[in-house]
Protein backbone atom coordinates (compact mmCIF):
# COMPACT_ATOMS: atom_id res chain seq x y z
CA UNK A 1 0.00 0.00 0.00
CA UNK A 2 1.46 3.31 -1.02
CA UNK A 3 1.59 6.32 1.21
CA UNK A 4 -0.07 8.43 -1.45
CA UNK A 5 -2.78 6.15 -2.65
CA UNK A 6 -5.80 8.31 -3.42
CA UNK A 7 -8.85 7.61 -1.38
CA UNK A 8 -11.46 5.93 -3.50
CA UNK A 9 -14.36 6.92 -1.33
CA UNK A 10 -14.87 9.88 0.91
CA UNK A 11 -16.41 9.21 4.25
CA UNK A 12 -19.98 10.47 4.24
CA UNK A 13 -19.80 13.64 6.32
CA UNK A 14 -23.16 15.35 6.69
CA UNK A 15 -23.06 19.03 5.72
CA UNK A 16 -22.63 21.43 8.64
CA UNK A 17 -26.13 22.88 8.06
CA UNK A 18 -27.71 19.53 8.83
CA UNK A 19 -25.96 19.28 12.19
CA UNK A 20 -25.70 22.81 13.54
CA UNK A 21 -28.32 25.36 14.35
CA UNK A 22 -27.38 29.02 14.62
CA UNK A 23 -29.49 31.34 16.74
CA UNK A 24 -30.48 34.20 14.41
CA UNK A 25 -30.46 36.67 17.32
CA UNK A 26 -27.18 35.95 19.17
CA UNK A 27 -25.45 33.84 16.50
CA UNK A 28 -24.45 31.19 18.98
CA UNK A 29 -24.08 27.65 17.66
CA UNK A 30 -25.67 24.55 19.04
CA UNK A 31 -26.53 21.15 17.67
CA UNK A 32 -29.81 20.87 15.85
CA UNK A 33 -30.82 18.18 18.29
CA UNK A 34 -30.25 20.58 21.19
CA UNK A 35 -32.25 23.34 19.45
CA UNK A 36 -35.15 20.99 18.83
CA UNK A 37 -35.03 19.47 22.32
CA UNK A 38 -35.23 22.99 23.71
CA UNK A 39 -38.45 23.69 21.78
CA UNK A 40 -36.64 25.92 19.24
CA UNK A 41 -35.59 28.31 22.01
CA UNK A 42 -31.98 29.52 22.13
CA UNK A 43 -30.37 28.20 25.35
CA UNK A 44 -27.95 31.17 25.32
CA UNK A 45 -30.18 34.23 24.71
CA UNK A 46 -33.71 32.85 25.17
CA UNK A 47 -34.80 33.89 21.66
CA UNK A 48 -38.01 32.00 20.92
CA UNK A 49 -37.55 30.60 17.41
CA UNK A 50 -40.19 29.87 14.81
CA UNK A 51 -42.53 26.91 15.06
CA UNK A 52 -44.77 25.39 12.44
CA UNK A 53 -48.49 25.91 12.90
CA UNK A 54 -48.89 22.27 13.85
CA UNK A 55 -46.17 22.41 16.50
CA UNK A 56 -47.82 25.46 18.00
CA UNK A 57 -51.29 23.92 17.98
CA UNK A 58 -49.93 20.84 19.77
CA UNK A 59 -48.53 23.13 22.48
CA UNK A 60 -51.60 25.31 22.97
CA UNK A 61 -54.72 23.23 22.29
CA UNK A 62 -55.76 20.54 24.75
CA UNK A 63 -54.79 17.07 23.52
CA UNK A 64 -57.09 15.84 20.79
CA UNK A 65 -59.38 18.90 20.99
CA UNK A 66 -58.30 20.69 17.80
CA UNK A 67 -60.75 20.34 14.90
CA UNK A 68 -59.52 22.13 11.81
CA UNK A 69 -61.95 24.29 9.82
CA UNK A 70 -61.87 26.05 6.42
CA UNK A 71 -59.05 23.91 5.01
CA UNK A 72 -60.65 24.17 1.54
CA UNK A 73 -60.18 27.96 1.63
CA UNK A 74 -56.80 28.26 -0.05
CA UNK A 75 -54.93 30.79 -2.20
CA UNK A 76 -56.29 32.61 -5.26
CA UNK A 77 -54.31 33.56 -8.35
CA UNK A 78 -56.86 36.07 -9.64
CA UNK A 79 -54.11 38.27 -11.13
CA UNK A 80 -52.39 35.40 -12.96
CA UNK A 81 -49.30 36.84 -11.29
CA UNK A 82 -45.84 36.23 -12.74
CA UNK A 83 -42.57 37.70 -11.51
CA UNK A 84 -38.92 37.23 -12.48
CA UNK A 85 -38.80 33.76 -10.99
CA UNK A 86 -42.00 32.48 -12.55
CA UNK A 87 -45.70 32.16 -11.82
CA UNK A 88 -47.15 32.68 -8.33
CA UNK A 89 -49.26 29.56 -8.82
CA UNK A 90 -46.15 27.37 -9.14
CA UNK A 91 -44.58 28.91 -6.03
CA UNK A 92 -47.62 28.55 -3.86
CA UNK A 93 -48.29 24.99 -5.07
CA UNK A 94 -44.70 24.10 -4.15
CA UNK A 95 -45.27 25.66 -0.71
CA UNK A 96 -48.41 23.55 -0.26
CA UNK A 97 -46.38 20.43 -1.11
CA UNK A 98 -43.55 21.42 1.23
CA UNK A 99 -45.62 22.46 4.24
CA UNK A 100 -48.70 20.28 3.91
CA UNK A 101 -50.78 23.41 4.62
CA UNK A 102 -53.20 25.07 2.21
CA UNK A 103 -52.90 28.62 3.56
CA UNK A 104 -50.71 30.69 5.85
CA UNK A 105 -53.08 30.41 8.79
CA UNK A 106 -54.41 27.15 10.23
CA UNK A 107 -57.77 27.60 11.89
CA UNK A 108 -59.82 25.35 14.15
CA UNK A 109 -61.97 24.97 17.20
CA UNK A 110 -60.43 23.57 20.36
CA UNK A 111 -60.24 23.87 24.10
CA UNK A 112 -57.33 25.58 25.85
CA UNK A 113 -56.93 24.42 29.43
CA UNK A 114 -60.58 23.45 29.29
CA UNK A 115 -61.79 26.79 27.86
CA UNK A 116 -63.43 26.53 24.47
CA UNK A 117 -61.85 28.73 21.82
CA UNK A 118 -61.39 29.44 18.14
CA UNK A 119 -57.66 29.04 17.54
CA UNK A 120 -55.74 30.34 14.54
CA UNK A 121 -52.02 29.87 14.02
CA UNK A 122 -50.00 31.40 11.20
CA UNK A 123 -47.14 29.45 9.66
CA UNK A 124 -44.17 31.53 8.52
CA UNK A 125 -43.04 28.65 6.31
CA UNK A 126 -46.10 29.21 4.11
CA UNK A 127 -45.09 32.07 1.78
CA UNK A 128 -43.52 33.98 4.68
CA UNK A 129 -46.81 33.83 6.54
CA UNK A 130 -48.13 36.38 4.09
CA UNK A 131 -51.70 37.60 4.25
CA UNK A 132 -53.48 36.41 1.11
CA UNK A 133 -57.17 36.38 0.25
CA UNK A 134 -57.44 32.84 1.65
CA UNK A 135 -55.78 33.89 4.91
CA UNK A 136 -58.12 36.86 5.29
CA UNK A 137 -61.14 34.77 4.42
CA UNK A 138 -60.24 32.14 7.02
CA UNK A 139 -59.83 34.80 9.71
CA UNK A 140 -63.11 36.53 8.82
CA UNK A 141 -64.97 33.21 8.86
CA UNK A 142 -63.33 32.30 12.16
CA UNK A 143 -64.63 35.55 13.70
CA UNK A 144 -68.13 34.86 12.42
CA UNK A 145 -68.12 31.28 13.68
CA UNK A 146 -66.69 32.45 17.01
CA UNK A 147 -69.57 34.94 17.35
CA UNK A 148 -72.14 32.27 16.46
CA UNK A 149 -70.69 29.75 18.93
CA UNK A 150 -69.65 32.29 21.61
CA UNK A 151 -66.00 31.29 21.40
CA UNK A 152 -63.09 33.54 22.36
CA UNK A 153 -60.58 34.03 19.52
CA UNK A 154 -56.90 33.26 20.02
CA UNK A 155 -54.68 34.08 17.05
CA UNK A 156 -50.94 33.50 16.76
CA UNK A 157 -49.40 35.70 14.07
CA UNK A 158 -46.16 35.16 12.18
CA UNK A 159 -45.93 37.11 8.97
CA UNK A 160 -43.92 39.40 6.76
CA UNK A 161 -47.11 41.25 5.77
CA UNK A 162 -49.57 41.30 2.88
CA UNK A 163 -49.05 38.89 -0.03
CA UNK A 164 -48.20 41.12 -2.96
CA UNK A 165 -48.78 38.30 -5.48
CA UNK A 166 -52.48 38.75 -4.79
CA UNK A 167 -52.33 42.52 -5.36
CA UNK A 168 -54.88 44.97 -4.02
CA UNK A 169 -57.16 42.24 -2.68
CA UNK A 170 -54.42 41.14 -0.29
CA UNK A 171 -54.33 44.74 1.02
CA UNK A 172 -58.10 44.60 1.38
CA UNK A 173 -57.75 41.60 3.69
CA UNK A 174 -56.30 44.02 6.25
CA UNK A 175 -59.60 45.90 6.25
CA UNK A 176 -61.72 42.78 6.06
CA UNK A 177 -60.04 41.01 8.99
CA UNK A 178 -60.02 44.19 11.10
CA UNK A 179 -63.75 44.66 10.44
CA UNK A 180 -64.48 41.05 11.44
CA UNK A 181 -62.37 41.39 14.60
CA UNK A 182 -64.21 44.61 15.43
CA UNK A 183 -67.54 42.81 15.22
CA UNK A 184 -66.26 39.96 17.37
CA UNK A 185 -65.28 42.46 20.07
CA UNK A 186 -68.62 44.29 19.77
CA UNK A 187 -70.30 40.93 20.37
CA UNK A 188 -68.60 40.88 23.78
CA UNK A 189 -66.10 38.16 22.94
CA UNK A 190 -62.42 38.34 23.81
CA UNK A 191 -59.62 38.29 21.27
CA UNK A 192 -56.12 37.35 22.42
CA UNK A 193 -53.47 38.21 19.84
CA UNK A 194 -50.08 36.52 20.15
CA UNK A 195 -47.47 38.18 17.96
CA UNK A 196 -44.68 35.68 17.35
CA UNK A 197 -41.39 36.13 15.51
CA UNK A 198 -41.76 37.86 13.08
CA UNK A 199 -44.96 39.90 12.83
CA UNK A 200 -44.53 42.87 10.54
CA UNK A 201 -46.10 44.96 7.75
CA UNK A 202 -49.75 44.53 6.89
CA UNK A 203 -50.36 41.84 9.50
CA UNK A 204 -49.02 43.88 12.41
CA UNK A 205 -50.99 46.82 10.93
CA UNK A 206 -54.26 44.90 11.06
CA UNK A 207 -55.51 42.00 13.16
CA UNK A 208 -52.27 41.25 15.01
CA UNK A 209 -52.28 44.64 16.81
CA UNK A 210 -56.01 44.55 17.55
CA UNK A 211 -56.03 42.10 20.43
CA UNK A 212 -57.97 42.91 23.57
CA UNK A 213 -54.58 41.93 24.82
CA UNK A 214 -51.45 41.67 22.67
CA UNK A 215 -48.85 39.24 23.92
CA UNK A 216 -45.59 38.00 22.46
CA UNK A 217 -42.58 35.78 23.09
CA UNK A 218 -39.06 36.83 24.11
CA UNK A 219 -37.03 38.59 21.39
CA UNK A 220 -39.74 38.39 18.71
CA UNK A 221 -39.43 40.91 15.88
CA UNK A 222 -42.55 43.09 15.70
CA UNK A 223 -42.92 46.22 13.63
CA UNK A 224 -44.52 47.97 10.71
CA UNK A 225 -41.76 49.11 8.35
CA UNK A 226 -38.54 47.18 7.77
CA UNK A 227 -35.39 48.27 9.60
CA UNK A 228 -33.52 49.00 6.38
CA UNK A 229 -36.36 51.09 4.97
CA UNK A 230 -36.41 53.18 8.15
CA UNK A 231 -32.62 53.59 8.26
CA UNK A 232 -32.60 54.68 4.63
CA UNK A 233 -35.40 57.16 5.32
CA UNK A 234 -34.01 58.80 8.44
CA UNK A 235 -30.29 58.30 7.66
CA UNK A 236 -29.59 57.01 11.16
CA UNK A 237 -28.63 53.68 12.65
CA UNK A 238 -31.35 52.18 14.80
CA UNK A 239 -30.69 50.59 18.20
CA UNK A 240 -30.05 46.84 18.15
CA UNK A 241 -33.22 46.04 20.11
CA UNK A 242 -35.42 48.22 17.86
CA UNK A 243 -38.73 46.46 17.05
CA UNK A 244 -38.03 43.66 19.52
CA UNK A 245 -40.74 42.29 21.81
CA UNK A 246 -38.97 43.96 24.75
CA UNK A 247 -38.81 47.33 22.95
CA UNK A 248 -42.52 47.17 22.10
CA UNK A 249 -43.42 46.31 25.67
CA UNK A 250 -41.43 49.32 26.89
CA UNK A 251 -43.30 51.55 24.44
CA UNK A 252 -46.69 50.31 25.56
CA UNK A 253 -47.89 48.16 22.68
CA UNK A 254 -47.52 44.72 24.25
CA UNK A 255 -49.34 43.58 27.38
CA UNK A 256 -46.90 40.86 28.29
CA UNK A 257 -43.96 38.83 27.03
CA UNK A 258 -44.77 35.22 27.79
CA UNK A 259 -42.33 32.31 27.74
CA UNK A 260 -43.35 29.54 25.37
CA UNK A 261 -43.72 26.97 28.14
CA UNK A 262 -46.15 29.29 29.97
CA UNK A 263 -48.23 30.40 26.98
CA UNK A 264 -51.06 27.91 27.23
CA UNK A 265 -51.53 28.43 30.95
CA UNK A 266 -51.42 32.21 30.48
CA UNK A 267 -54.15 32.15 27.82
CA UNK A 268 -56.32 29.84 29.94
CA UNK A 269 -55.82 32.11 32.95
CA UNK A 270 -56.92 35.21 31.04
CA UNK A 271 -60.01 33.47 29.65
CA UNK A 272 -60.79 32.37 33.17
CA UNK A 273 -60.44 35.95 34.55
CA UNK A 274 -62.88 37.14 31.91
CA UNK A 275 -65.43 34.44 32.62
CA UNK A 276 -65.05 32.34 29.47
Amino acid sequence: MSWFEPKTEKAAIPPAKALWAICPKCMSHMSKAEWKANNCICPKCNYHGRLTARQRIAQVADDGSFAEVFRAVSYSDHLDFHDATGPYKAKVEATIQKTGETESVVMGTCTIGGHKAMLGVMDFAFMGGSLGTGTGERIARACEQAIAERRPLVLFSASGGARMHEGILSLMQMAKTSAAIGRLKEAGLPYISVLTDPTTGGVSASYAMLGDINVTEPKALIGFAGRRVIENTIHQKLPADFQSAEYLEQHGFIDKIVERRDMKAFIAKMLNYWGF
Binding site: A72, V73, S74, S76, H78, L79, H82, D83, A84, T133, G134, G136, E137, A140, A162, M164, H165, E166, G167, I168, L169, S170, L171, M172, Q173, M174, A175, K176, S178, A179, A180, I181, G182, R183, E186, T200, G201, G202, S204, A205, S206, Y207, A208, M209, L210, I222, G223, F224, A225, V229, I230, T233, I234, Q236, L238, F242, Q243, H251, G252, F253
Partner: protein, 270 residues
Protein backbone atom coordinates in the same frame (compact mmCIF):
# COMPACT_ATOMS: atom_id res chain seq x y z
CA UNK B 1 -55.33 62.90 -34.83
CA UNK B 2 -52.20 61.14 -33.70
CA UNK B 3 -52.30 57.46 -32.96
CA UNK B 4 -53.38 56.80 -29.41
CA UNK B 5 -51.20 54.40 -27.47
CA UNK B 6 -52.62 52.71 -24.42
CA UNK B 7 -51.38 54.10 -21.12
CA UNK B 8 -49.24 51.62 -19.20
CA UNK B 9 -49.54 51.10 -15.45
CA UNK B 10 -46.22 52.91 -15.03
CA UNK B 11 -47.56 55.90 -17.00
CA UNK B 12 -50.32 56.10 -14.40
CA UNK B 13 -47.79 55.85 -11.58
CA UNK B 14 -45.93 58.85 -13.06
CA UNK B 15 -49.14 60.85 -13.45
CA UNK B 16 -50.30 59.92 -9.94
CA UNK B 17 -47.00 61.20 -8.52
CA UNK B 18 -46.82 64.34 -10.67
CA UNK B 19 -46.06 67.23 -8.28
CA UNK B 20 -48.29 69.44 -10.45
CA UNK B 21 -51.29 67.25 -9.72
CA UNK B 22 -53.98 68.84 -7.53
CA UNK B 23 -53.11 68.59 -3.82
CA UNK B 24 -55.36 68.37 -0.80
CA UNK B 25 -55.47 72.18 -0.68
CA UNK B 26 -56.86 72.26 -4.23
CA UNK B 27 -59.49 69.63 -3.50
CA UNK B 28 -60.60 71.52 -0.42
CA UNK B 29 -60.74 74.74 -2.43
CA UNK B 30 -62.78 73.36 -5.31
CA UNK B 31 -64.80 70.56 -3.68
CA UNK B 32 -65.78 72.28 -0.42
CA UNK B 33 -67.82 75.46 -0.05
CA UNK B 34 -65.91 76.25 3.14
CA UNK B 35 -63.49 74.50 5.49
CA UNK B 36 -62.14 74.86 9.05
CA UNK B 37 -59.07 72.82 9.87
CA UNK B 38 -58.86 71.26 13.35
CA UNK B 39 -55.57 70.16 14.85
CA UNK B 40 -54.02 67.46 16.99
CA UNK B 41 -54.46 63.94 18.26
CA UNK B 42 -54.76 65.03 21.94
CA UNK B 43 -51.84 62.75 22.76
CA UNK B 44 -48.52 64.00 21.42
CA UNK B 45 -48.70 65.89 18.18
CA UNK B 46 -50.40 67.53 15.25
CA UNK B 47 -49.31 65.51 12.26
CA UNK B 48 -49.07 67.59 9.10
CA UNK B 49 -49.09 64.56 6.80
CA UNK B 50 -52.76 63.99 7.49
CA UNK B 51 -55.10 66.97 7.77
CA UNK B 52 -58.69 67.13 8.95
CA UNK B 53 -61.47 69.62 9.51
CA UNK B 54 -65.16 70.34 9.09
CA UNK B 55 -66.70 72.07 6.11
CA UNK B 56 -69.62 72.01 3.75
CA UNK B 57 -70.04 70.45 0.32
CA UNK B 58 -73.08 71.48 -1.68
CA UNK B 59 -74.67 72.81 1.51
CA UNK B 60 -74.09 69.58 3.47
CA UNK B 61 -71.84 69.49 6.57
CA UNK B 62 -68.92 67.11 6.20
CA UNK B 63 -65.71 66.09 7.91
CA UNK B 64 -62.81 66.21 5.47
CA UNK B 65 -59.75 64.05 6.10
CA UNK B 66 -56.85 63.86 3.69
CA UNK B 67 -53.20 63.15 3.16
CA UNK B 68 -51.29 66.36 2.70
CA UNK B 69 -48.30 66.04 0.39
CA UNK B 70 -47.80 69.79 0.21
CA UNK B 71 -47.11 71.96 -2.82
CA UNK B 72 -43.81 73.60 -1.84
CA UNK B 73 -40.55 72.14 -0.58
CA UNK B 74 -41.25 73.56 2.89
CA UNK B 75 -44.68 71.96 2.91
CA UNK B 76 -43.26 68.68 1.60
CA UNK B 77 -40.74 68.61 4.45
CA UNK B 78 -43.28 69.56 7.09
CA UNK B 79 -45.74 66.88 6.00
CA UNK B 80 -43.21 64.15 5.09
CA UNK B 81 -44.64 64.18 1.55
CA UNK B 82 -48.01 63.05 2.84
CA UNK B 83 -46.60 60.09 4.76
CA UNK B 84 -48.62 60.18 7.96
CA UNK B 85 -47.38 59.32 11.44
CA UNK B 86 -49.48 57.39 13.97
CA UNK B 87 -50.47 60.81 15.34
CA UNK B 88 -52.12 61.56 12.00
CA UNK B 89 -54.24 58.41 12.04
CA UNK B 90 -55.18 59.02 15.67
CA UNK B 91 -56.20 62.59 14.84
CA UNK B 92 -58.32 61.23 11.98
CA UNK B 93 -60.08 58.83 14.37
CA UNK B 94 -60.63 61.57 16.94
CA UNK B 95 -62.29 63.82 14.38
CA UNK B 96 -64.25 60.94 12.85
CA UNK B 97 -65.65 60.09 16.29
CA UNK B 98 -66.84 63.68 16.53
CA UNK B 99 -68.44 63.46 13.09
CA UNK B 100 -70.18 60.24 14.10
CA UNK B 101 -71.56 61.90 17.23
CA UNK B 102 -73.48 64.42 15.08
CA UNK B 103 -74.04 62.03 12.18
CA UNK B 104 -71.95 64.19 9.88
CA UNK B 105 -70.67 62.29 6.82
CA UNK B 106 -66.95 61.99 6.13
CA UNK B 107 -65.06 62.57 2.89
CA UNK B 108 -61.45 61.39 2.70
CA UNK B 109 -58.83 62.29 0.09
CA UNK B 110 -56.16 59.64 -0.24
CA UNK B 111 -52.76 60.54 -1.67
CA UNK B 112 -49.72 59.05 0.07
CA UNK B 113 -46.65 57.00 -0.82
CA UNK B 114 -47.36 55.10 2.43
CA UNK B 115 -47.31 55.51 6.19
CA UNK B 116 -44.12 57.22 7.39
CA UNK B 117 -41.31 54.71 8.05
CA UNK B 118 -39.57 56.52 10.91
CA UNK B 119 -38.17 55.69 14.30
CA UNK B 120 -40.72 57.70 16.30
CA UNK B 121 -43.50 56.42 14.04
CA UNK B 122 -42.62 52.86 15.08
CA UNK B 123 -42.17 53.80 18.74
CA UNK B 124 -45.57 55.45 18.83
CA UNK B 125 -47.16 52.43 17.19
CA UNK B 126 -47.58 52.96 13.45
CA UNK B 127 -48.88 49.41 13.08
CA UNK B 128 -51.34 49.81 15.96
CA UNK B 129 -52.59 53.17 14.67
CA UNK B 130 -53.31 51.78 11.20
CA UNK B 131 -54.89 48.62 12.59
CA UNK B 132 -57.14 50.63 14.92
CA UNK B 133 -58.11 52.91 12.09
CA UNK B 134 -59.21 49.98 9.90
CA UNK B 135 -61.32 48.53 12.70
CA UNK B 136 -62.67 51.95 13.62
CA UNK B 137 -63.81 53.02 10.14
CA UNK B 138 -65.36 49.60 9.49
CA UNK B 139 -67.68 50.07 12.48
CA UNK B 140 -68.31 53.82 12.17
CA UNK B 141 -71.98 54.82 12.19
CA UNK B 142 -71.79 57.66 9.70
CA UNK B 143 -71.32 57.67 5.91
CA UNK B 144 -67.77 57.63 4.56
CA UNK B 145 -66.90 58.59 0.97
CA UNK B 146 -63.32 57.89 -0.07
CA UNK B 147 -61.55 59.50 -3.03
CA UNK B 148 -58.21 58.04 -4.14
CA UNK B 149 -56.75 61.15 -5.77
CA UNK B 150 -53.11 60.24 -6.43
CA UNK B 151 -51.01 57.57 -4.80
CA UNK B 152 -52.87 54.97 -2.80
CA UNK B 153 -49.82 53.66 -0.99
CA UNK B 154 -50.59 50.45 0.90
CA UNK B 155 -51.65 50.42 4.57
CA UNK B 156 -50.96 54.13 4.98
CA UNK B 157 -53.62 54.82 2.35
CA UNK B 158 -56.06 52.11 3.44
CA UNK B 159 -56.15 53.51 6.99
CA UNK B 160 -58.40 56.32 5.73
CA UNK B 161 -59.84 54.44 2.75
CA UNK B 162 -62.36 52.11 4.39
CA UNK B 163 -65.70 53.54 3.38
CA UNK B 164 -69.15 53.14 1.86
CA UNK B 165 -68.16 54.52 -1.54
CA UNK B 166 -64.61 54.37 -2.81
CA UNK B 167 -64.06 56.66 -5.80
CA UNK B 168 -60.80 56.74 -7.67
CA UNK B 169 -59.48 59.32 -10.11
CA UNK B 170 -58.68 58.01 -13.56
CA UNK B 171 -54.89 58.37 -13.26
CA UNK B 172 -54.56 57.51 -9.61
CA UNK B 173 -52.96 54.24 -8.52
CA UNK B 174 -53.68 52.09 -5.47
CA UNK B 175 -51.47 49.21 -4.48
CA UNK B 176 -50.42 46.82 -1.74
CA UNK B 177 -46.78 47.83 -2.36
CA UNK B 178 -45.03 50.39 -4.55
CA UNK B 179 -43.95 49.03 -7.95
CA UNK B 180 -40.34 49.79 -7.00
CA UNK B 181 -40.67 47.91 -3.70
CA UNK B 182 -42.29 44.93 -5.38
CA UNK B 183 -39.66 44.85 -8.14
CA UNK B 184 -36.91 45.02 -5.52
CA UNK B 185 -38.29 41.97 -3.73
CA UNK B 186 -39.74 39.75 -6.46
CA UNK B 187 -37.53 40.80 -9.38
CA UNK B 188 -34.50 41.61 -7.16
CA UNK B 189 -34.14 44.69 -9.35
CA UNK B 190 -35.86 48.00 -8.60
CA UNK B 191 -35.62 49.05 -12.24
CA UNK B 192 -38.18 46.37 -13.13
CA UNK B 193 -40.86 48.59 -11.57
CA UNK B 194 -42.83 48.88 -14.84
CA UNK B 195 -43.21 45.09 -15.00
CA UNK B 196 -44.21 44.98 -11.33
CA UNK B 197 -46.71 47.83 -11.83
CA UNK B 198 -48.31 45.88 -14.66
CA UNK B 199 -48.43 42.61 -12.71
CA UNK B 200 -49.87 44.18 -9.54
CA UNK B 201 -52.91 45.65 -11.37
CA UNK B 202 -52.96 49.07 -9.73
CA UNK B 203 -54.82 51.32 -12.17
CA UNK B 204 -58.35 52.57 -11.61
CA UNK B 205 -59.74 50.43 -14.44
CA UNK B 206 -58.15 47.24 -13.09
CA UNK B 207 -59.22 47.94 -9.52
CA UNK B 208 -62.81 48.54 -10.61
CA UNK B 209 -62.82 45.12 -12.28
CA UNK B 210 -61.41 43.54 -9.10
CA UNK B 211 -64.13 45.16 -7.00
CA UNK B 212 -61.65 47.07 -4.82
CA UNK B 213 -63.23 50.44 -5.76
CA UNK B 214 -66.75 51.51 -6.69
CA UNK B 215 -66.29 54.10 -9.44
CA UNK B 216 -63.71 55.92 -11.56
CA UNK B 217 -63.76 59.72 -11.85
CA UNK B 218 -62.65 60.88 -15.30
CA UNK B 219 -59.85 63.43 -15.50
CA UNK B 220 -59.37 66.26 -18.00
CA UNK B 221 -57.48 65.33 -21.19
CA UNK B 222 -53.81 64.67 -20.39
CA UNK B 223 -54.45 64.36 -16.65
CA UNK B 224 -55.61 66.33 -13.60
CA UNK B 225 -52.38 68.33 -13.49
CA UNK B 226 -53.43 70.12 -16.70
CA UNK B 227 -56.58 71.59 -15.20
CA UNK B 228 -57.07 71.53 -11.44
CA UNK B 229 -60.44 73.17 -11.50
CA UNK B 230 -61.96 70.77 -14.02
CA UNK B 231 -60.44 67.74 -12.26
CA UNK B 232 -61.68 68.83 -8.83
CA UNK B 233 -65.12 69.76 -10.17
CA UNK B 234 -65.55 66.24 -11.52
CA UNK B 235 -64.58 64.88 -8.11
CA UNK B 236 -67.02 67.25 -6.43
CA UNK B 237 -69.86 66.02 -8.62
CA UNK B 238 -69.13 62.38 -7.79
CA UNK B 239 -68.77 63.12 -4.06
CA UNK B 240 -72.04 65.09 -3.94
CA UNK B 241 -73.90 62.23 -5.66
CA UNK B 242 -72.40 59.64 -3.29
CA UNK B 243 -73.25 61.72 -0.19
CA UNK B 244 -76.82 62.12 -1.41
CA UNK B 245 -77.21 58.37 -1.92
CA UNK B 246 -75.71 57.48 1.45
CA UNK B 247 -77.78 60.06 3.36
CA UNK B 248 -80.86 57.93 2.64
CA UNK B 249 -79.54 54.94 4.60
CA UNK B 250 -80.06 54.50 8.34
CA UNK B 251 -76.78 54.16 10.24
CA UNK B 252 -77.20 50.47 11.07
CA UNK B 253 -77.92 49.54 7.47
CA UNK B 254 -74.94 51.59 6.36
CA UNK B 255 -72.60 49.68 8.67
CA UNK B 256 -74.05 46.31 7.59
CA UNK B 257 -73.58 47.17 3.93
CA UNK B 258 -70.04 48.39 4.51
CA UNK B 259 -69.20 45.12 6.23
CA UNK B 260 -70.80 43.08 3.46
CA UNK B 261 -68.69 44.98 0.93
CA UNK B 262 -65.44 44.35 2.81
CA UNK B 263 -66.46 40.78 3.47
CA UNK B 264 -66.84 40.10 -0.26
CA UNK B 265 -63.33 41.36 -1.06
CA UNK B 266 -61.31 38.42 -2.29
CA UNK B 267 -63.82 35.80 -1.26
CA UNK B 268 -63.26 33.30 -4.05
CA UNK B 269 -64.19 30.40 -1.86
CA UNK B 270 -67.46 28.49 -1.76
Amino acid sequence: MATTTKKTAMDCVKLARDPQRPHLKDFIRYVCDDFEELHGDRLVNDDRGLVGGFGTIDGRSVLVLGHNKGATVEENMESNFGMANPDGYRKAMRLARLAEKFHVPIVTFVDTPGAYPGREAEERGQAEAIAKSLEFFALLKTPVVVVITGEGGSGGALAIAVGDRVLMMENAVYSVISPEGCAGILWRDGTKAPAAAEALKITAGDLLKLGAIDAVVKEPAGGAQKNHKAACTAVRKAVVAALKELAKLPADELVEKRYAKLRAMGNFYA
